[in-house]
């Protein structure tokens, strides 16, 4: 029983981060139709910026910011980086096909990763957390507070994103821009600002994911890329496009990895999310839950 609860908590936490990563790139996908392959490396970058801001040998010799202020500054910096990415790697290519932008984001991913490698070196680093070391005991299972924090924050962010998309003027404008940029522009939607904002928010979410993910283990250059692929899996399971679907997809991969993988072929539990994803693509490309295909243009 305690084992099952611990596995459930791990599964939920991984699923939550996958969902968070997926929400990050779905935000851009829904606003611009682009799948940003640099999202994973933005997650990595977020984790490293947080380290840089909060550790003693970090930024500009100021010394450490407090953990929570450091996190907040990280998210702000990531927002600006996202806006910058939009200006450099997306805005000049607007009007080109989606695929050229996708390959460009691959290039951006390479550049980001190489930059982090030059900046922080390639040895694994560790990020501190306000709840480090604390564990929650439920029915004999020890669950680290970090995992609980991950689950709660992800839930809040996902709900906020859904509300943002469905019930605000900003969300309507984003969806209109994604559906038809030119028509949206003619209707007075400030499309340039919107796409900058979408990239900024998406990068901020990536930064948040990096901050939440960081304290769970060590941080290296491939951290974010691996989670981005998990995010892809979550998005595919959810039918690629619906944010609600991503949550269910994220939970599905988290649970299949830890709960199913906790009992069957335990050593190989990391492959189950991808096996599930490949099966879904092969058998139900519209996603596990959707009726029609939500995958447009790609």
């Amino acid at each position: 029983m305690s084992n099952l609860i611990a596995l459930l908590a791990s599964g939920l936490a991984v699923g939550a981060i996958a969902a968070l990563a997926a929400v990050g790139f779905l935000l851009i996908y829904k606003a611009t139709g682009v799948v940003n392959f640099a999202q994973g490396d933005l997650i990595t970058l977020g984790a490293y910026i947080a380290i840089w801001l909060t550790q003693k040998d970090g930024a500009f010799g100021i010394g450490a910011l407090g953990l929570v202020p450091g996190y907040i500054v990280t998210i702000l910096i990531m927002f600006l980086i996202g806006v910058g990415l939009e200006r450099v790697a997306y805005a000049p290519l607007r009007g080109r096909s989606i695929h050229v932008i996708v390959i460009t984001t691959l290039g951006a991913a390479l550049v980001l990763r190489a930059f982090i490698g030059l900046w922080q070196g390639t040895t694994p680093r560790y990020l501190d957390s306000p709840v480090r070391g604390d564990v929650l005991k439920i029915a004999g299972a020890n669950i680290s507070y970090q995992r609980v924090l991950v689950i709660i924050v992800s839930a809040i962010v996902v709900v906020a994103t859904i509300l943002l998309f469905q019930f605000t003027q900003f969300g309507r404008q984003l969806r209109a821009t994604a559906a038809d940029r030119d028509t949206a522009k003619l209707c007075g939607v400030p499309v340039n600002w919107l796409s900058m904002l979408a990239f900024g928010l998406s990068a901020a979410l990536a930064g948040l994911a990096g901050i939440l993910l960081g304290p769970l283990g060590s941080i290296d250059l491939t951290l974010g890329f691996n989670f981005m692929i998990l995010g892809f899996a979550a998005a595919v399971l959810g039918g690629f496009g619906s944010i609600g679907g991503v949550v269910v997809g994220g939970l599905a991969i988290g649970l299949v990895q830890y709960v199913f993988g906790g009992y069957v072929l335990r050593d190989y539990n990391a492959i189950f999310p991808f096996v599930l994803m490949i099966l879904v693509i092969a058998l139900r490309p519209q996603g596990l839950f959707a009726r029609g295909s939500a995958l447009r243009r790609l």
Partner: protein
């Protein structure tokens, strides 16, 4: 850097996208892909690197670097087949190298079949890689480009994780599998970089030879057709699933062989050396080198391997740039910026010169030789929407002036016994065809039969479902109902099912292949599908070449018949709109159809061109072909068609001779709208 330079002089004719426009009809029996001297260039290249190995390289270090280059060459040539020729977005090339490496290491370690030689290991590696790749490609057969890409990323994660964990297979202690048996040849150990070089040399020679074989056979042509427009290829009779899976398996297996040689030459392997970094690197090498040429991988890999080394302080005896840059408080040599540099370069190449370094070489050569510039485009740049707009003007205004000579017989239908009763026997019977798009019933229970030797016109107002009806009959969209061709039922919703029954179609906007020449485009539709696979392409060269020459001659006749023979060797991208319509017609004629489905054949043609079209269609009818055509021009329809069918809102409202049908009040109402008042009074 003398080696890559020879590769820049590659013969242009090896790449269909860049064939020089010399097809003036005098070389009718030689498909454009069979011109040029690729074997000669391959020999020159191999001789070049052999001499280079002998006299240009000193020291194990440099030889090792050359070997790394050759390793990349091999796996990127494999990727050229998967991505360049077949257009499949795969990130899995690196991981298939891992599969090959570990399988071979395992097979030699446990001495499978009682043999522990590398050569047995590599054979097992080939079989295992091919099985894994084929299973994956089959599972992904319906995936879109983007989903395919994501799935290959997932596959990479799965395989690398399995290799990390399954130590019984990998034989690893920690991360590293050590003690992998060195390669030996007839008892002679190839255990240092100088000797390993020859293994790579042989592997690359074989792989490049394979690409030449594929280019000089129907395989590459059909892969390109599948890549650029799979639905059209399918209706022309190209087996698109086979083409995709074959190319994916072939390219991945080449990676497996490369991986096996790599592991055995190093003596050890780690999963991470085949990780996503190599996966992305393979992408960079191919796009950088040139995506539409077999020499692209060679040049791209050379750039990828040698330039950073040169920036690091010299390579192969060439003194390099050697200074350090202070970044983030550390001294960095320029080579440390490698990935930064390649990431940026990937973007720049994609945007500024999609044809890569090989393409730049081609342009320089044509500049020096004073020839016309080859087209600055690849299938990828078209796909990505980066190619400038096509010039609309005809490359040669003389089409149609050279009217065809005596009529050549087209195959006279399978129903030779029915000659006694022309225009009575139905060859195609469509019953209760329904097509639904969401809530819209585009075709709503239409039934229609086409009789032997007749030309049946299908008309109707815009949006009445005419094109959708043709799409349903040719299987390119899902539809319900029943379809019989000469009495035998055909499954709907599957493109490619009707072509073997002799049904060929054209499209509303002409669908020609911009990266093939006219003659190759026409050859695609051939009814002769013998010896089109890769096995004969590799093992039965003379027979394949003979067959393809036959197809080329037949295609030239079809081109001659529509008056396009002078443009046979031109890329179809140079044709005007009207010429592309004629090319489609030639393609249909070359297919020796029994039933022809034409979608607005007269659209965009002027009156004299329409006259010619009518003459062509009459001749086809005389040859025994039954024709169903959709069109808007009523005078064209009336002057050509034996019967006319009228479609309105997805339903058939009238069928019969043109005169009576156009008198029918329902038809008049369909076109002109109903006079509500008159209707209510009546």
């Amino acid at each position: 850097m003398s080696t890559p330079r020879t590769t820049l002089d590659k013969p242009r004719a090896t790449s269909p996208a860049a064939i020089s426009p010399d097809g003036s009809g005098d070389e009718r029996s030689r498909p454009p892909a069979m011109r040029g001297q690729p074997y000669l260039w391959l020999l020159v290249f191999l001789l070049g690197i052999a001499l280079f190995r002998q006299y240009g390289v000193s020291g194990f270090g440099d030889t090792d670097l050359v070997n790394t280059w050759l390793f990349y060459c091999v796996i990127v040539v494999g990727f050229y087949l998967v991505f360049g020729v077949s257009g499949q977005f795969a990130f899995s090339q690196a991981v298939f190298a891992a599969v090959g490496a570990y399988t071979s290491a395992w097979a030699t370690r446990i001495a499978l079949f009682g043999v522990d030689s590398f050569w047995m290991g590599v054979l097992v590696a080939i079989v295992v890689t091919a099985i894994v790749a084929a299973a994956f490609a089959f599972l992904m057969r319906r995936a879109s480009h983007f989903y395919f890409a994501i799935a290959t990323l997932g596959l990479s994660e799965i395989i690398l994780e399995v290799l990390r964990k399954w130590t019984a297979f990998s034989g690893a202690s920690g991360d590293t599998t050590a003690g992998i048996r060195h390669i030996s040849l007839f008892g002679y150990p190839l255990d240092n970089p100088y000797r390993i070089f020859w293994v790579w040399f042989g592997a690359l020679a074989l792989v490049l030879l394979l690409t030449i074989f594929l280019a000089r056979s129907p395989v590459q042509r059909e892969a390109i057709a599948t890549r650029d427009h799979d639905m059209v290829a399918s209706t022309l009779g190209v087996p698109i699933l086979r083409s995709r899976i074959t190319m994916f398996v072939l390219g991945s297996t080449i990676a497996g062989v490369g991986g096996a040689i790599f592991a055995h030459s190093k003596g050890f392997a780690t999963p991470d050396s085949f990780g996503i970094d190599l996966g992305l690197g393979i992408f960079v090498m191919l796009i950088l080198g040139g995506i539409d040429s077999r020499w692209g991988p060679i040049v791209g890999a050379a750039f990828y391997v040698f330039v950073p080394q040169w920036l690091q302080g010299g390579v192969l005896g060439i003194p390099g740039v050697d200074f350090t840059v202070n970044a983030f408080g550390q001294e960095h040599r320029l080579g440390d910026f490698r990935d930064l540099f390649f990431g940026a370069l990937l973007v720049i190449v994609m945007i500024a010169f999609p044809e890569g370094l090989v393409g730049i070489g081609r342009r320089l050569r044509s500049l020096v030789l004073g020839r016309a510039h080859p087209a600055r485009r690849t299938w990828l740049s078209d796909f990505l929407g980066l190619t400038p707009k096509r010039p609309r003007a005809a490359a040669d205004g003389t089409y149609g002036r050279e009217t065809a000579t005596a009529p050549r017989p087209v195959k006279a239908g399978a129903g030779d016994g029915t000659e006694g009763h022309p225009a009575s026997f139905p060859v195609l019977e469509a019953d209760d065809i329904r097509v639904q798009f969401g809530g819209v019933r585009a075709v709503d229970g239409a039934s229609l039969s086409v009789r032997e030797h007749e030309i049946l016109g299908l008309v109707g107002p815009n949006g009445s479902g005419k094109t959708t009806f043709l799409n349903a009959l040719s299987g390119v969209i899902p539809a319900s109902g029943s379809l019989r061709v000469r009495g035998s039922p055909v499954q709907l919703g599957r493109a490619g099912r009707v072509r073997p029954l002799g049904i060929v179609r054209t499209y509303q906007s002409p669908q020609t292949y911009e990266h093939l020449t006219c003659i190759e485009d026409v050859m695609l539709s051939t009814a002769d599908r013998t010896l089109t696979g890769i096995t004969p392409a590799c093992l039965a060269r003379p027979a394949v070449v003979r067959r393809d020459r036959g197809r080329c001659e037949a295609a030239a006749q079809a081109l001659d018949r529509v008056g396009l023979i002078r443009l046979a060797g031109e890329p179809t991208a140079r044709l005007s709109y009207g010429q592309r319509r004629l090319l489609e017609l030639a393609r249909a004629i070359n297919a020796q159809p029994d039933i022809l489905l034409l979608d607005e054949p007269s659209a965009g043609l002027d009156s004299s061109e329409t006259e010619e079209l009518i003459a062509h269609l009459r001749r086809l009818q005389d040859d025994g072909v039954s024709i169903l055509l959709v069109d808007h021009k009523l005078d064209f329809i009336t002057s050509l068609c034996d019967r006319v069918a009228v479609l309105e809102l997805g339903q058939l409202v009238a069928v019969g001779p043109a005169g009576t049908v156009f008198e029918d009040h329902r038809v008049v109402d369909a076109y002109l709208g109903v006079d509500e008042e008159a209707a209510s009074r009546a």
